[in-house]
Amino acid sequence: MRGVGILGAVSSPPSLEVSGLAFAYPDGHQALFGVDLRIERGERVALLGPNGAGKTTLVLHLNGVHRAGAGEVRVGGLEVTREHVQEIRRRVGIVFQDPDDQLFMPTVGDDVAFGPANFGVTEPELSQRVSDALDAVGMADLADRSPMHLSGGQRRRVALATVLACDPEILVLDEPSTHLDPVARRELAEVLLGLDRTMLMVTHDLPYALQLCPRSVVIDGGVVVADAPTWDILADPDLLAAHRLELPFGFAL
């Protein structure tokens, strides 16, 4: 569905449009029961929910690792199908939970180049992409290092750079603040706030959601149970309790 913008221009399609998405794992376990979610371009949305709610399963539908059992997923207007899978993967940049899974090349620079090179970017643009992406996360001088010799916070930011280098339509982060010390956590937040990209952030860290995402979606038992401004969701103790979400000690809205 296309709306008409204020100035009469045709507005761009939403970055993400999930409708009626249902999915069962091959072993028969049904993880998603009809998920609807629409994220406009430039929005930052937190995806909240207890363990086993289906968050990771949903994320893996966004770039075609899992195929919808029913319903559909569109990224920037393009439906996730087998034919489009390569373009979809370029448009959806997933930063996985453990940076050690994401950083598999011997050096940081090679790792950041891996995505764009797969998507057909060649020199000299490739080097430009790599240095731009490392610049954006404040790691420009570490291109020649092995990921093994970086701190946890640095690894997380490099993992973010590997995805930014692909110039994604939507950035998806799976639990970005786990295993980060407070300073690294704040530094990552500053980088993310400075990016100006559509973002979907899976997290258990409710204050982090509040800091980074104006809007939150709560998912539990494979369905969306709440979709509202983050402040409103965190200020609703009954909703939080019903879905095993909890603000840290001493934190109240």
Binding site: V65, P106, A117, S146
Partner: protein, 254 residues
């Protein structure tokens, strides 16, 4: 070359040997090892020539012999084998300090010892002057199949991760009173090797997922390595050619 990106065998430097393209060094090392292996075992002097040639490379690369010697210790198991052979091999025997040694065994032991040592020294020299990443891109430049390069790349990266994981698991065991010196506690070590294998396997699946998500379709993107000029090739191949000549002369003087 990139500082900070090292492996335990790499010795940072800026010598002519360090600056050679990796694929050239791989070919030279390979030819050199072939020449060593092909040298007849009775041609004792020829092995001295090989060692002299190698020493020449070390001088150019500024690698101290002591540094090399400590890294060459990985061949220790072969030394044991070489020492045992003269005692147990069959055939004519010689008396030495009251011990009866097999002539064939002596020669076989010497053969293993000298060729193994030279082979290890050549490999350590290659590793000492070439960062890991260059080794892999050198292999792919030599048209080693893409899959082998993918595996080599991932192994280089995850060997470190797995070693670190094993160290953490050992620490966790030891801090709970596990003392691996006692044989009856071997079980815990064995079980943790199993856990390590499982974890590595699960990691493999997650890494594969992360690769797919960034557009991986089965081949690593080719990272640029410059081709080597004919001049570079001919200079670099000199020690290897000399080794081949030495090996051939070994047959001739025999």
């Amino acid at each position: 070359m990139a500082a900070g990106h090292a492996h335990p065998l790499y010795r940072a430097g800026d010598s002519a040997v360090h600056r050679l393209p990796a694929h050239v060094k791989i070919v030279v090392a390979f030819v050199f090892v072939l020449a060593v292996v092909a040298t007849p075992r009775e041609a004792f002097a020829v092995f001295g020539c090989h060692l002299l040639l190698l020493a020449g490379v070390w001088v150019v690369a500024r690698i101290p012999p002591g540094w090399l010697a400590t890294r060459a210790l990985i061949e220790a198991p072969f030394v044991v084998l070489a020492v045992l052979l003269p005692f147990f091999a069959a055939g004519p025997r010689v008396e030495w300090w009251g011990m009866s040694l097999s002539v064939d065994g002596l020669l076989a032991g010497w053969n293993i010892l000298v060729k193994g040592t030279l082979g290890v020294l050549v490999s350590v020299t290659l590793a000492a002057t070439t960062p890991l990443r260059d080794l892999v891109s050198g292999l792919s430049r030599l048209r080693v199949p893409a899959m082998v390069c993918v595996i080599a790349t991932l192994m280089l990266r995850y060997l470190e991760v797995i070693v670190a994981e094993a160290r953490r698991m050992r620490l966790a065991r030891v801090s709970r009173g596990h003392d691996p010196r006692f044989v009856w506690q071997l079980g815990a070590t064995v079980r943790s090797v199993g856990a390590l294998f499982l974890r590595s396997y699960e990691r493999g699946e997650r890494v594969h997922l992360a690769m797919l998500s960034r557009g991986y379709t089965g081949t690593m993107p080719a990272f640029t390595t410059a081709p080597a000029s004919t001049a570079t090739w001919s200079v670099a191949l000199l020690p290897a050619a000399a080794a081949v000549v030495c090996a051939a002369s070994g047959y001739w003087v025999r």
